[in-house]
Amino acid sequence: MSSLRWEDDDLAYDSSVFVRGKGHYVDDIIIPEMLHMTILRSPYARAKILSIKGGLSSRDLGAKMASVGEGAGPNQRGSIEPVFATGYVNYVGEPVAAVFADDRYRSNDLLDSIEVDYDPLKPVVTIDDALNAGPIHNGMTSNVLVESSKGTDFPDPKSPIVLEDTMENDRVSTNPIEPRGIVASYVNDILNVWVSTQSVHSIKDGLVESLKLSPDRVRVMQTDTGGAFGSKGGLYPEYVIASYASMKYGKPVKWIETRREHLSSTNPGRGVRGRVKIFAEQNGRITGVKGDVLVDAGAYGTGIASFSAGFIAMMMTGPYSIEKGYVTGRSVMTNKVPQGPYRGAGRPEASFFIERMLDLLADKLKMDPAEVRLLNMSDKPFTSPLGMKIEAARPFFEGAVRELRYREETKLTRGVGLSFFVLVPAVYPGESARIIVKDHRIKVWLGGNSHGQGHESFVRKLVNEELEVPESVVTLFRGDTGMTREGVGSWGSRSAIVGGAAIVAVCRKIRKDVEKKFGSYSPETLLSGYFDEFINEEQKMSLNSFGANLVTVEIGKLGNVRVKKCIAYYDVGRALNREMVIGQIQGGMAQGIGQTLHEGLYYDHDGQLITSSISDAGVPLAEDLPNFEVKIAEHRSALPHGAKGVGESPTIGVPPALIRAIERASGKRLSKTPVKPDDLIK
């Protein structure tokens, strides 16, 4: 395969090795003769490239990126990123050329050997610039990448209450503590790739398409993946360049991102503005919603940047039964790093917009925000005018008001915020799984790949339940396209749902194999035999995970917000591993607080990135955060193992609850994240 000396056990997910410093991350790979790659990046937001001397560049590799990963779609012609900037650069941090040496320091030194002449152009930096200026790309007629609408337009009704607001979530850098990285090694006509990723299949499909390779000549293997949060689901230019270079030079090539590169060149999330209008009766009943969503797609169209305009529009009614709705969505192009998915990927934005409007309505009518929310919910399933299927919502949320001790908390302090939401997990199109039974061990692979969530724990549990074998004989291995011929990926709160369903299905297939061969099933006959089954378990069902958050705050004299309580009540279906579920929720709540109070990725008027470190980007510290309280409801889904989604619930639920708490404590209407101390004291 290559000269990487990792034993079989080194390829399994095993979090116990991390406390000993014995993980297998991509930067830990050392292969003889390996070259280190360094990328020369654009210093301009927008410029014409007059000449490039030295290094590997678009002259050598004129390929384009492929649309793979979360939200990937076919409708992105004219906006797909070239692997190396070709003719023009369109964002600060865009790859222009690459250099290689046998050591990372010498590779860095070689950057000086490249000369690039640029003719700078006026960049398009903000959403407003994008709407007013001419197109940043030749061949496009405007900066609108995608235009979409949900529902049917209707004349404004003569409602007694009409409220309108414009709300915004600034861009957030995903900032996993492990940056991106890849090792590519071309041996015996096979391109072996090790990568920190959420989806080995996306990376493989992308490399096959970009480099026009035959699928059976590419094998992508996942290394231990040190966090991702959406940003490691798809293809990036560096992956194509490293792979190409390993083939061209006949040596393994390693590329490891620096944090500065992460900020300039890894797809950030959010960066969405919504203008929303609601029509309501005096009793608080909302009769209609209209909206216009603008997504800052950045310089090139990724899957999610194209997908989110319509996706956010679709979710604009939240869990509420609103009869009329019409929402338009546009993704617009700016000279900034392309937008990508960040934990929630459109769901948090939609929830932020509608929850802010519900609070505005409650204030207008001087009603209790929980009351207004509940009276707009149904105790029957509802299909929204925007096309979202919502299960009977009211019973869960009536319970949530009690579980979150909402009535009690509002008596204790003014700064209380409440949010209700529905998470629609990315169930479609399902997931793959493979099981090999050999030598009394059960080896498992999943198409979608864990990056800290602990998929191995639910896999062991489900295999134990289905095949009646002890968990200790079950091992889940990291993603490997050599072991699963197709698969999807780990995002959109989907893994326990679709990965779990695939495990159940493949176990049942194996059970049948044993029955066919031996007449009846027993765990002993299974373990003493040899079985090998793969399944691609399709899923199309619509699934909801309801959730609610309560947050309380205090505001200091200088406008600094202190989160006192942050409580979650989420329906997770069946909690396959309670500790893991709680860990997911606590970590997600920290990110929800981060987005609301600290995090942002900023550019100046010239499109220069001014956020230059992980601290600047606002990743929260331990002392910024409270102790979280997590309450779990377990209403099983229709799937055999009962799972629902959970990973993105906290980033959907916390920002609207927290901003409301701040609004109540400060007495100022707030419509934008992050909330800055200045917003509260001026």
């Binding site: 991390f18 410093g21 050392i30 503590i177 966090g227 800290g452 102790n627």
Partner: protein, 167 residues
């Protein structure tokens, strides 16, 4: 570039090496010595994934040159367990789920080790303050704080057992 001779004691072993003067301590540990448990996360001394002990004190090995470690003693995550037995803090992080993706874990454990050397029974507030140089993006820190508190208890128990043996 001409190489410089350095002598260090790493995880209890004397090591003589020749390094480029510009080489960072973290790259010396990871690439020259193969101690890949120490990680690089941010390049700006904020995230603490690269934390090691230098003469017993927690330092960021991405912000020090290897030559500055000449004549000094370094402990990395690989040096914490003795004879294959996990250190109580390592045990505590495992039991209390003080990690998810594992990337910040080595640095968190090294910082905790130093903290519990200085303060055997830290309050939650003291723990959170002491973690201000270590970032975790997965856990929200709550399980890390619990791990450190539990680690403090395990260390205390172990010391009491040792005292009993001595008596």
């Amino acid at each position: 570039m001409s190489l410089v001779k350095i002598k260090t004691k790493i995880n209890g072993k004397e090591v003589e090496s020749e390094v480029e003067p510009r080489k960072l301590l973290v790259h010396f540990l990871r690439e020259d010595l193969g101690l890949t448990g120490t990680h690089v996360g941010c390049d700006t001394s904020n995230c603490g994934a690269c934390t090691v002990l230098l003469n017993g004190k927690a330092v960021k090995s991405c912000t020090m040159l290897a030559v500055q470690a000449n004549g000094k003693e370094i402990t990395t995550i690989e040096g914490l367990s003795k004879n294959g037995e996990l250190h109580p803090i390592q045990k505590a992080f495992l039991e209390k789920h003080g990690l998810q993706c594992g990337y910040c874990t080595s640095g968190m454990i090294m910082t905790s080790f130093w903290l519990l050397r200085k303060n055997k029974n830290p309050t939650e507030e003291e723990i959170r303050k002491n973690l201000s140089g270590n970032l975790c993006r997965c856990t929200g820190y709550q399980s890390i704080v619990e791990s450190i508190r539990y680690g403090a208890e395990l260390i205390k128990e172990k010391e009491e057992q040792q005292e009993m043996v001595v008596r």
